[in-house]
């Protein structure tokens, strides 16, 4: 009986928590927050549509700074955001380097075949996109509102757009033919 007692208490507590959460979500302030996120999503879409890696990286930097300062409420979260910011800085360095053909061509020689994909180095920019996309995917598996998840998805789409443009820059720097559409 004790087992059932605990579990029944817990089930009713979960029920109460959900009711309280729903009340919070239906408050005027919560609804206002959700309305505001639609505009944020629109702005992120516009940023993604530029397909400019520098703009997309800076937008992500601002988002991460925001998350680190305001939402990060666990050591795990802080330990996820800080490396992301460090990797983002490294990616910014790679983005500058890829625009200097000679310097990038030399750098590319230091990458073994294993660290290349289709002849393109999996450098700091490409690594940031890969690992940060994985971070955002993991967050899509967690509990968050639909509006918040739409923003996470848009951030992923923006990283993808930045990556595509970056790969073109890599091809240009290395004198490779552009990929066919």
């Amino acid at each position: 009986m004790e087992r059932i007692g605990y579990l029944a208490s817990y089930a009713y507590k979960l029920n109460e928590d959900w009711k309280a959460f729903s009340l919070k979500e239906n408050s005027v302030e919560a609804k206002s927050f959700q309305i505001g996120l639609a505009t944020t999503l629109g702005l992120l879409r516009e940023i993604g549509a530029t397909k400019q890696p520098d703009i997309i990286l800076l937008a992500e930097k601002a988002t991460l700074a925001q998350e680190l300062t305001t939402y990060a409420n666990s050591a795990e979260m802080v330990n996820s955001i800080k490396p992301a910011l460090e990797q983002l800085e490294e990616a910014t360095g790679a983005l500058k380097l890829v625009q200097d053909k000679d310097a990038y061509a030399k750098t590319a020689q230091a990458f073994s075949a294993k660290r290349k994909q289709g002849g393109l180095p999996l450098d700091a920019f490409r690594e940031f996109i890969l690992s940060h996309t994985a971070r955002l995917t993991n967050r899509l598996k967690g509990t968050a509102s639909v509006s918040e998840k739409n923003i996470l998805r848009q951030r992923k789409d923006n990283l993808k757009a930045a990556n595509e443009r970056y790969m073109e820059l890599q091809r240009e720097a290395l004198g490779l033919e552009p990929m066919e559409e």
């Binding site: 206002s32 505009t39 930097k61 700074a65 925001q66 305001t70």
Partner: protein, 75 residues
């Protein structure tokens, strides 16, 4: 400058949404600027685009000045 109350901030946010609902994005942006800019975002703007640009945007820097001093912008 006295710290903005939650009520005042919420009124600004609602005015922003009203402007957006009318399709007036420029007015929404102007109203949004009245919210104190959080220090981490002020720092981001200053670092990436420079102090003068940040000032020219018309940002409300009351929060960052309260936290880091009036001379924050020129440091």
């Amino acid at each position: 400058m006295a710290k903005m109350t939650d009520k005042e901030a919420f009124e600004i946010i609602q005015a922003v949404h009203a402007a957006e609902a009318r399709g007036d994005k420029a007015e929404a942006h102007r109203i949004r600027l009245r919210l104190p800019l959080a220090p981490h975002l002020a720092e981001f703007m200053k670092q990436e685009f420079g102090a003068q640009y940040l000032l020219d945007t018309g940002a409300n820097l009351s929060e960052v000045e309260a936290q880091y001093g009036k001379d924050w912008i020129s440091r």
